[in-house]
């Protein structure tokens, strides 16, 4: 246990951050059938906003501001790049999403000048704590708890509120909901607002742990969160969360596999397995798609004749 614990801890923490990003992917997909490739970059932009704002404002003002600004950016992206394409073929919206992703990355590159930016310290979060002999930042422990709380709130919101009901109905049948008088545009905007909010929270947690923000910071976490969403069954929120934790934990266990095996005396020399941590994530994606194309919790699509 002592050998595996530090890896499990990082795995759970990373998993929680992937989960928050993955929910953004999965919700937008559930409603618009769109894979929002710009989502990972919204996450990165939230990190940069934090860096620049905290240079001049105290931290307790900055955090709500970051959340608000990120939500606004998510809303504007939807209105500017996706909503004009509502009746266009789905492929066009996806290309538009890729365009937004590169736009954000290059804007960030221009503003930061390609230099890595140090993320500010959030008191309490970034202090070191020690549990069962493993030392880590407090944010590592906060992340999974906060993730679970946010997910419970979100699921409650979708099940029990009027807007949640509207979201479910739009996800089930787009045109019929419109006929029933649901304001599709505001439902979609609301979805993007929630997605961006969670991305902003994820960025607070993620960058408190890994304190460097670069313009491509969003790419890898975004991609892995996407894999997590597909793994869990895209469109399903619990699926995304479980997928994210699975990927986070597996990834970190593989990084530590050599060390664990040596310590337990199974092997004498390192096998260089560490190198395959990323390869594993994407191999998993392929296996899932081959074996169960809808993911763990994915709904089976019945084609109507």
């Amino acid at each position: 246990m002592q050998t595996v614990l530090p890896y499990l801890l990082s795995g759970i923490s990373v998993g929680g951050q992937y989960a928050l990003i993955a929910i953004g992917y999965t919700m937008v997909y559930g409603i618009l059938r769109l894979i929002n490739f710009a989502h990972g970059d919204v996450f990165m932009v939230a990190g940069l906003v934090m860096v620049y704002l905290s240079a001049s404002l105290p931290i307790y003002v900055v955090i709500p501001l970051v959340l608000a600004i990120t939500v606004t950016i998510g809303f504007i992206i939807e209105r500017a790049a996706y909503s004009p394409l509502r009746s266009a073929p789905r492929m066009s919206i996806m290309i538009s999403a890729i365009g937004v992703s590169y736009l954000l990355q290059n804007l960030a590159l221009y503003i930061t000048g390609g230099m890595n930016q140090m993320y500010p310290n959030i008191p309490f979060f970034t202090e070191s704590v020690s549990i069962f002999g493993a030392t880590t930042k407090r944010v590592t422990l906060v992340t999974p708890i906060l993730t679970v709380v946010l997910v419970v709130v979100l699921v409650w919101l979708i099940k029990n509120t009027k807007i949640g009901m509207a979201m479910r109905s739009v996800a089930t049948d787009y045109e019929t909901s419109q006929l029933m008088g649901i304001k599709i545009n505001s439902v979609i905007s609301f979805t993007f607002i929630i997605g961006s909010f969670l991305a902003a929270v994820a960025s607070l947690l993620y960058f408190s742990n890994y304190t460097t923000v670069i313009p491509t910071s969003g790419a890898m976490p975004g991609l892995k969160a996407f894999v997590a969403a597909v793994f869990g069954g895209i469109g399903s929120i619990p699926g995304a969360v479980i997928g994210a934790f699975t990927i986070g934990i597996c990834e970190n266990l593989i990084k530590g596999l050599d060390s664990i095996l040596i310590q337990t005396g199974i092997i004498q020399q390192g096998l260089g397995l560490t190198t395959f941590s990323d390869a594993f994530t994407f191999a998993l994606l392929i296996v899932i798609l081959v074996v169960k194309p809808t993911g763990i919790f994915g709904e089976k699509v019945t084609d109507k004749v």
Binding site: S128, T211, T212, M220
Partner: protein, 398 residues
């Protein structure tokens, strides 16, 4: 109405983008006087990507030298030296394009690059065009091996790896080392190999691991280092990763010294380590204070212009690569003077014989590969209380 609004929003986005382009880092304006004689020097450096920060600092050294000595005498005539910039994006697939840009702009000689991988990727383009290149801080042996057009003014990785291994055993009596490199990065992997060789010869054992590009979670690697019982960590990776490693090592209470090569000699590293419980040792080309005249002049140059200051990472700390860039520019001028022409072939032949007393030491080239003959490296350590580099010692190998 909706369409109009959408159109308005998207055009605002576009405008914001275009407005962004306006205030960019424009290179100095080209000479307008058609009669002025000009010699072009190519600056082959990354200003974006993982090594963007280092590339900019190196470029600053070149720019400073250019601002002090903007002309060169060729055969009794004064030529204006014009710098031509190309961003190789820290990536081996963009480097050939950047090199091609320099070639098509007709540069006489090339300076750069920061990073060995990109230098090698651009090498053939310069070779085919018959243009000589002077590497500034690319330390991988393969850059100059087997060719006559690539030179370098810095020491090499086998030397640097040996220096670090020797330092680790002498200073920390290290028996076990943990090495971490980015997968597929020629510089990291090469340096780790040389370190491993030298360290094993001194009787130590090494555990080596690599991480994929784009990694930001190093916690598991640090746990691996702890589990391996390492006395020192050797992690000569790009600065983007360096800052993460430092921060996470501190958070996990890794009390072992972290050592790295010349890439870590950056104020970003100091910034990340300030106020944290970490020990960092790097080997490098120049230590601030080595040449007070250069130091004060360069600081004035940095502070004279907010773009310069920004490119240096927001403060006026002197990075060794800036001093190297400064020296490289003068080496190039010496070669141009000796060649007595702006012809790139003549300059290439002249570089072999250049001997120049630079701020980083005497620079002369060996006759085999065109590598600088250097015997010592400076070891620096971060003072985590004050947030500056402290000089540790001059380490030489026999």
């Amino acid at each position: 109405m909706k369409k109009v609004l959408a159109l308005l929003l998207s055009s605002t986005l576009m405008l914001a983008l275009l407005a962004g382009c306006g205030g960019g880092q424009t290179p100095p304006p080209a000479t307008t006087d058609p009669n002025a004689k000009v010699v072009h020097i190519g600056v082959f450096e990354p200003s974006t990507g993982d090594s963007g920060a280092g590339g900019k600092q190196e470029t600053l050294g070149i720019q400073y030298a250019n601002s002090l000595t903007p002309t060169v005498d060729i055969g009794g005539e004064s030529y204006k030296v014009e710098l031509v910039y190309a961003d190789n994006g820290s990536s081996t697939d963009k480097a050939p394009t950047a090199a091609q840009q320099l070639v098509s702009k007709g540069v006489s000689v090339v300076l750069g690059s920061y990073g060995s991988g990109v230098s090698m990727a651009g090498s053939d383009i310069f070779k085919n065009a018959g243009i000589a290149a002077i590497g500034i801080s690319c330390t991988n042996p393969q850059v100059t091996q087997g060719n006559t057009h690539y030179f370098r003014i810095c020491f090499l990785d086998p030397f640097q790896g040996t220096v670090q291994a020797k330092f680790a055993t002498e200073k920390f009596q290290a028996k076990k080392a943990y090495c971490l490199a980015e997968l597929g990065n020629d510089y990291d992997v090469g340096l780790v190999n040389y370190f491993t060789d030298a360290f094993q010869k001194l009787g130590g054992t090494v555990t080596s691991e690599t991480f994929p590009s784009g990694t930001s979670d190093f916690t598991s690697y640090i746990t691996n280092a702890k589990n391996a019982g390492a006395d020192v960590i050797f992690a000569p990776c790009s600065i983007s990763y360096a800052t993460q490693i430092i921060d996470q090592a501190a958070a996990q209470g890794l009390a072992k010294p972290i050592m790295a090569g010349d890439t870590w000699d950056s104020n970003k590293v100091v910034e990340a380590a300030k106020g944290k419980a970490v020990q960092i040792y790097v080997s490098t080309f120049y230590q601030e204070g080595g040449n007070p005249e250069f130091d004060s002049g360069f600081k004035t140059f940095l502070n004279s212009n907010s773009t310069n200051l920004n490119n240096n990472g927001g403060n006026d700390m002197i990075s060794a690569v800036s001093a190297m860039g400064y020296d490289a520019y003068y080496v190039a001028l010496e070669a141009i003077k000796a060649a007595g022409s702006t012809d790139s072939k003549a300059i290439n032949d002249a570089i072999w014989k250049v001997s120049y007393p630079g701020v980083t030491g005497q620079i002369a080239f060996d006759t085999v590969n065109g590598d600088a003959v250097r015997k010592t490296a400076y070891i620096k350590t971060v003072n985590t209380e004050t947030g500056v580099w402290d000089f540790e010692k001059e380490q030489s190998v026999d």
